[in-house]
């Protein structure tokens, strides 16, 4: 195992496609923040707070921006959500806090809660805002360095325990670093937040894959309790001819390379086709459109009104010029010298393919956005850890699995939600683990 120090900003090489994106909601200036904060009604038992999965006391942090107490504002946010900075940019606020804001129901523009939260975190957050309990000498091992594990680990460190995070990749942050659309959150900013959390005392070991480099039994012997936050598995692909050609990607893989890999280029790409209709598919088509690909098509097996993605994302994609190819299923990716050239389609009825062929589409870039594999196999390596039939790790409300020393949270537990849900689950688990460790309920080797 190599404990790799986290490089300081900027760590990522230049020349990545991500750098071409504009920030869709830039950091407020002080006077913009003050003006927006002063619109907030400081609702009692505010619906925005209830709608936030981590229950940030939105009304209070906004009032503190208004009173000029920006540090206190950041403290209010951090008390409820240690990843308040990336959540402020990654969260689908339209369906969370801002969707619940009383102004929305009133037919007026809701308070820009996400942007105010970003402002408070950027201007006010610092490690000394977080109170720490004395060291306990207890140790927790966490699998995966995504938002779920990082939130859990940081909270545990604040509770006085040691927390060691094992990450199979080279960079920490999980999909928060490698998956969020760049016009919302860029990888460098997400890494800044990871650095903030590590600076609290979380220990990170990268390039360590649990189940391969280190076995579960070893972890159970080394730590008093474990937290599993491995996220979801690799992108799924349709088993059709041409699916392994050059210019064919899984969505998560493509996004990660677009954000992190300076070698990836889309020079010469004129026709992109994305298969799917969920939020990941929408992110990819919007990314292509914003990168200037002339023809961007979303191939979906049902009709427009049935798109599972957020309505606000689809209406933005349409404005950006994305075309929908509805009721269609890909049957073959036509390759020319091993490279994607066109996409053959069949008409779909009620989401299922029929024998009727549709006209083929030009496609020099094809992306599968039809979901990620579940980690049932991974979970099964831990004694007594079970998965549901949908492949989610099974736990009680606190995130505890049937193995009393193992908790789980994030996409692996909820089947794939948002960063903020992963944070909420990681923190909840940390509270439960802390209670158990203090009660002496679980210890190493037991």
């Amino acid at each position: 195992m190599n404990a790799k120090p986290v490089p300081t900003s900027p760590a990522l090489p230049a020349g990545r496609l991500e750098e071409q994106f504009a920030d869709k909601a830039p950091l407020y200036t002080s006077s913009e923040a003050l003006a927006e904060a002063s619109r907030c009604l400081y609702c009692f038992d505010a619906p925005c707070m209830r709608a936030c999965p981590t229950h940030i006391d939105v009304a209070t942090f906004i009032r503190k921006i208004g009173s000029g107490n920006v540090k206190g504002s950041a403290r209010t946010i951090l008390d409820a959500n240690l990843l308040g900075a990336s959540c402020s940019r990654a969260c689908p606020v339209e369906v969370l806090c801002e969707g619940a804001c009383v102004y929305t129901g009133w037919g007026r523009k809701p308070i820009a809660i996400g942007r105010l939260q970003r402002f408070a975190m950027a201007r006010g957050a610092s490690p000394e805002l977080l109170p720490r309990a004395p060291r306990t000498g207890k140790s927790v091992g966490l699998v995966g360095a995504g938002p779920a594990s990082l939130a859990c680990a940081a909270k545990l460190v604040l509770f006085g325990h040691d927390a060691v995070v094992y990450e199979k990749g080279t960079l920490p942050g999980g999909l928060d670093v490698s998956g969020i659309a760049p016009y919302k959150l860029d990888a460098e900013s997400a890494l800044d937040e990871v650095r903030f959390l590590l600076a609290l005392g979380v220990e990170l070991r990268t390039r360590v894959e649990i189940g391969k480099d280190v076995q579960p039994a070893e972890l159970l012997a080394k730590h008093d309790a474990l937290f599993l936050g491995p996220g979801l598995g690799a992108d799924s692909r349709l088993p059709i001819p041409g699916a392994d050609g050059a210019g064919v990607f899984g969505a998560v893989e493509w996004i990660a390379r677009m954000k992190l890999d300076p070698q990836l280029s889309i020079a010469g790409v004129t026709h992109a086709a994305v298969l799917g209709g969920g939020n990941t598919a929408l992110d990819v088509v919007r990314e292509f459109a914003q990168l200037g690909v002339p023809n961007v098509r979303l191939v979906y097996r049902r009709g427009e009104s049935e798109l599972p993605a957020y309505a606000h994302e689809w209406s933005a994609a349409k404005k950006e010029g994305v075309q929908l190819v509805p009721n269609a299923v890909a049957t073959e990716i036509v390759l020319e010298q091993g490279r994607a050239k066109a996409l053959k389609l069949a008409r779909a009825h009620d989401g299922k393919p029929t024998a009727e062929a549709l006209p083929a589409l030009d496609a020099d870039l094809v992306v599968f956005a039809i979901g990620q594999a579940r980690l049932a196999e991974f979970a099964a390596r831990f004694p007594d850890v079970r998965t549901t039939k949908e492949g989610r790790i099974e736990t009680d409300a606190s995130g505890r699995t049937a193995n009393a020393r193992i908790w789980a949270g994030g996409d692996a537990r909820n089947g794939g939600m948002e960063v903020v849900n992963a944070v909420a689950e990681g923190q909840d688990a940390a509270r439960a683990i802390d209670a158990e460790l203090r009660a002496g309920g679980v210890t190493r080797g037991s």
């Binding site: 200036t29 002080s30 006077s31 002063s38 619109r39 400081y42 009692f44 209070t60 009032r63 503190k64 208004g66 009173s67 000029g68 107490n69 540090k71 206190g72 403290r75």
Partner: protein
């Protein structure tokens, strides 16, 4: 962490934030919730002989989208039986020994005062506050501000109280007087342990233009009430400052009036208040605001490296002087930052119509001028001021600018207009200096017409 605890004339509290005597301190259940939320003390809703209240009672001034920047009430003192209040006060004090519990009183005869004080002290309360402030209803019965406006009566009444009281006594003053020093000094002479101010300012909230009845309306009639909330803060700050700097006022001051945020509170403390009391902000938003009051004050003190609240108390008082002490050679002029200007030209219209005609639109020359009569040619000044004026950015004729601040106050862009110091002369020169040295004649008056 700075020490927030305070001591007002012997009354200790964990922080300087008290609830003022008003609806938020009506009952024991409320005061306990307030203490749980973090308030350091509470002055109970004024006790007296039973009264009957009217309905409705409150009115407010709104400003744009902001509700209740001023609140007005025609409520009287407590409408709950005395024995219930006293029992609850005793219970709260027992449960919260470290918090300040102060009983506010308003009675008529000497015997009533004596009896009320004895019964109040039996509750174990930490102090008494004498309500000489209520400016409506009670004053018609010879109490409240009727006492507060008559220094002799006030002094006599304080003496009655001090004869029998064993706990510290705070005299709460009305702002509805022409010289706040008069009732304040009367209270000090009478022996009061501390002063608190302000109570509410006499006011009429508005007129219902359909019914043609003033507001708030009780049936088809109305009466004047008392104004409080953010709108009265500047009035209260002045009164607190005037008493804090007066060497004859030898007792501490509890500052009240329009305090909503930790900044407001810090300002009262800096101008000489030992602690503060809050009413309207809690009536608007609830006890929960105390979290930011404490958190914000704490962070402010730490940022100024002050170890306790007492280090802040009175720090701005020496800088609060009479007009005649101000330096007439201190001079500032407005500077517009073209890079951040949004071109709204509000500064231009404000200066042109409401000040001294020295902010001009780009491409327009300066006026002949009043301040520097033809000393420099207008066109030449225009060129010198801003040769390559960008789109819609106005320019300031510095020769004419009197440094009034108006443009900087109306400019919607933070930091766009700054007032830059350009002294008239290096030496300090005040009006008092001029009077003392016979230089107090300013040409252009009646004398010069003769």
């Amino acid at each position: 962490m700075p020490d927030l605890s305070t001591n007002l004339a012997g009354i200790q509290s964990p922080n300087p934030f008290w609830l003022a005597s008003a609806p938020p301190t009506n009952s024991g259940e409320q005061v306990q919730r307030a203490f749980d939320a973090g308030w350091g003390g509470a002055v109970w809703k004024t006790l007296g002989n039973p009264i009957v209240n009217v309905s409705s009672r409150l009115g407010s001034v709104d400003y744009g989208d902001r509700r209740m920047i001023g609140l007005n009430n025609i409520e009287l003192i407590t409408d709950r039986p005395l024995d219930v209040n006293l029992r609850e006060i005793a219970e709260v004090k027992k449960r919260y020994p470290k918090h300040a519990v102060v009983v506010s009183l308003m009675f008529d005869t000497r015997d009533e005062w004596r009896e009320a004080i004895r019964r109040s002290e039996d509750t174990g309360c930490d102090g008494l506050e004498l309500n000489f402030g209520c400016p409506h209803g009670m004053c018609e019965r010879g109490m409240g501000s009727a006492v507060g406006q008559e220094p002799k009566v006030l002094e006599e009444l304080v003496r009655w109280v001090m004869d029998v009281a064993n706990v510290p006594v705070i005299a709460k003053l009305t702002p509805n007087v022409s010289h706040i020093e008069d009732p304040a000094l009367a209270a000090v002479r009478g022996g009061a342990s501390a002063l608190s101010l302000i109570n509410t300012v006499q006011s009429v909230m508005g007129v219902d233009l359909d019914r043609l009845v003033p507001l708030p309306r009780v049936g088809n009639l109305s009466t004047h009430g008392g104004l409080c909330g953010p709108a009265v803060k500047p009035i209260a700050l002045r009164m607190v400052g005037v008493l804090a700097r007066d060497p004859r006022v030898t007792v501490p001051i509890s500052g009240i009036g329009g305090i909503s945020t930790w900044r407001d509170a810090a300002e009262f403390l800096a101008l000489g208040a030992t602690n503060v009391q809050v009413c309207t902000a809690v009536m608007h938003h609830g006890y929960r605001i105390v979290e930011d009051l404490i958190d914000g004050l704490d962070a402010y003190l730490a940022s100024k490296e002050m170890k306790s609240v007492s280090e802040l108390v009175g720090r701005a008082t020496p800088a609060f002087v009479e007009w005649g002490e101000l330096d007439l050679n201190h001079h500032v002029v407005a500077k517009i930052d073209a890079a951040t200007c949004i071109g709204c030209q509000l500064c231009h219209v404000a200066c042109h119509d409401g000040a001294h005609q020295c902010i001009h639109l780009p491409g327009t020359p300066a006026h002949a001028g009043h301040v520097a009569p033809m000393a420099k040619f207008a066109a030449e000044r225009a060129r010198a001021a801003n040769p390559a004026s960008p789109y819609r950015v106005p320019w300031v004729d510095e020769t004419e600018c009197v440094g009034c601040n108006l443009c900087a106050l109306v400019c919607p862009v933070e930091g766009c207009i700054t007032m830059v110091e350009q002294r008239r002369a290096s030496a300090k020169d005040t009006w008092h200096d001029r009077m003392a040295t016979g230089r107090d004649h300013v040409p252009g008056g009646l004398k010069d017409l003769r």
